[in-house]
Symmetry: C2
Subunit: 248 residues, 2 copies
DNA sequence: ACGAGTTTGTTCTCCAGTTCACAAACTCCT
DNA sequence: AGGAGTTTGTGAACTGGAGAACAAACTCGT
């Protein structure tokens, strides 16, 4: 792999201008950042299938996006393709993984080992995607007897020690909504600066802390809205040609 | 509640122009549709706390958005506020629920009753948000002995009968990625027209079918990207003032 | 009844992101 | 070596959404 490594000569090379004062990194649009993991997944699937090279068209199809968008997204990372040929699957996969920051594992803590917390803790897929679950925390004493996925559930008061010990930057909240803000505050105090929130609440965090939310009810309600619209627009159940946007 | 019902006189009333040929409904931007459930949640919380009236400012704070954006979003539904006063919480809550289509419950099937499927089936919150789980399906025979959350797990071959019987429009896929496309195809054939996909694959569906995906690994990877950026931009662990956008 | 104060609904401006379209760059065949 | 064919990378037009700002519309106190 990596036949063309990064042709240093030629035109401009804007990889790391590091003049003192400028932020060095060329800034990637947020919409692109959100798609890079999808490309990474598609490339991994292609690599597993034995494909060594692919065109932007093929990769775009696999990722479920427009090929022009894909090319523009990749152009923010650099020129990793070869005109007339396409992209080296393994090389591009590595470059994206490096850009995202998942070439080595990130330690993660999960708080709230109930229904959802158990499922997350038992999920093996995180490991291969750049994450390692290092601690499971729960406030309920009866939970703390349990061992889930090879880890003993710890009391939430151990959060500071565990976060410090494993240098945890990313925390997952899977507690009831009522507890989420308090848990969030404690995590931030302990040193966590990125939070994935499953509880249906808006979390307030200090600047410098990232929050992303996953709310299944919201997703279902968005589907319900469009579903209602379909039913309303096409009263005849025979054939109703209404526009519906893909969103996979 | 509902002090001002919908003042029919006055200016223009663009609620239902139903001229034959025009699509009747005034079209709500997709970005707004995605936020309506958040407003609904915030209003429910306010109502539970005993609040009867709120301003756009208060509601915006509760929902974690800009108040101008909130007002513009609500304006797509109609004029449900009163200038100088604000919004009637209960009334607005109902109007949004009606717009989304969750004034009555939507029947839902879940396919793949593994780690995640169990958690979803046991989650009680769907009911109060407009959804009723009517069937749990799994291909593995040993799963079909089980009873989860009061429902016996059914074989996937019963999908057609169950979807037809309960008039199911929404399906949830919680199977491994390898099975997801096949499961999706079968669901669509059975009559499902909206799919929530937890498997890390892009699903291909015919026009008229909506797909939304939830991918935890992608969410974590987006956090990892920003986390890496923070670490890179601020090498001194003391105090690094870098911009980070909220996203709750 | 009227003016001061409040808050909505909407218009206008601006920006990020998407899509098109094509020159540049590469391969392969003759 | 040169030309035909392929595919990338990107400039430019276009689209949708975000935010500021303000007039219209309401309440309340006098
Ligand atoms: N289960 C699902 O499929 C699902 C779906 C959508 C949303 N959610 C949301 O995910 C969250 C968890 O759902 P669940 O079904 O796992 O709930 P659960 O009640 O089964 O589990 C919650 C766990 O959090 C623990 N907890 C409570 N307060 C805590 C605190 N202050 N500190 C630490 N731990 C604490 C509890 O002891 C319990 O073990 C909820 O907010 C729920 O709304 C869950
Ligand atoms: N568990 C998590 O927290 C988590 C997190 C992120 C993503 N996911 C994704 O969610 C999906 C489910 O995860 P999981 O941990 O529950 O997996 P799991 O292996 O525990 O469960 C999968 C279930 O699907 C059933 N199944 C397999 N093929 C089927 C088919 N053709 N028809 C019907 N049922 C079939 C299996 O019998 C099994 O019960 C996976 O795609 C996974 O990548 C899970």
């Amino acid at each position: 792999m990596s036949a063309t490594r990064r042709r240093a000569p030629g035109g401009r090379d804007e990889s790391r201008p590091h003049e003192p004062g400028t932020p060095a990194t060329p800034v990637i649009p947020e919409a692109t950042v959100a798609r890079l993991p999808v490309y990474l997944r598609a490339l991994t699937a292609l690599a597993d299938a034995g494909t060594t090279t692919c065109s932007s068209e093929e990769l775009a199809t696999a990722a479920g996006v427009n090929s022009a968008k894909l090319r523009k997204d990749l152009s923010y990372l650099g020129s990793y393709g070869t005109r007339g040929v396409g992209y080296d699957v393994e090389y591009l996969r590595y470059q994206i993984a490096r850009e995202i920051g998942v070439t080595q594992d990130w330690p993660v803590v999960i708080v709230g080992i109930g229904n959802l917390g158990h499922a997350l803790a038992n999920f093996s897929g995180f490991r291969s995607r750049g994450f390692r679950i290092v601690a499971l925390l729960d406030a309920a004493p009866e939970r703390q007897q349990e061992e889930v996925a090879g880890l003993r559930v710890r009391g939430f008061d151990e959060v500071d020690a565990l976060v410090a010990e494993h240098q945890v930057a990313i925390g997952v909240i899977a507690t009831p909504a009522a507890a989420a803000q308090a848990v969030c505050d404690r995590l931030v105090t302990a040193g966590v600066t990125s939070i994935l929130n499953f509880a249906p609440t808006v979390l307030a965090v200090p600047e410098g802390v990232d929050v992303r939310k996953v709310d299944l009810s919201i997703e279902l309600q968005i589907l319900a809205y469009h579903e209602q619209r379909k039913a309303h627009a096409a009263p005849i159940p025979g054939e109703g040609l209404d526009r519906v946007e893909e969103s996979a």
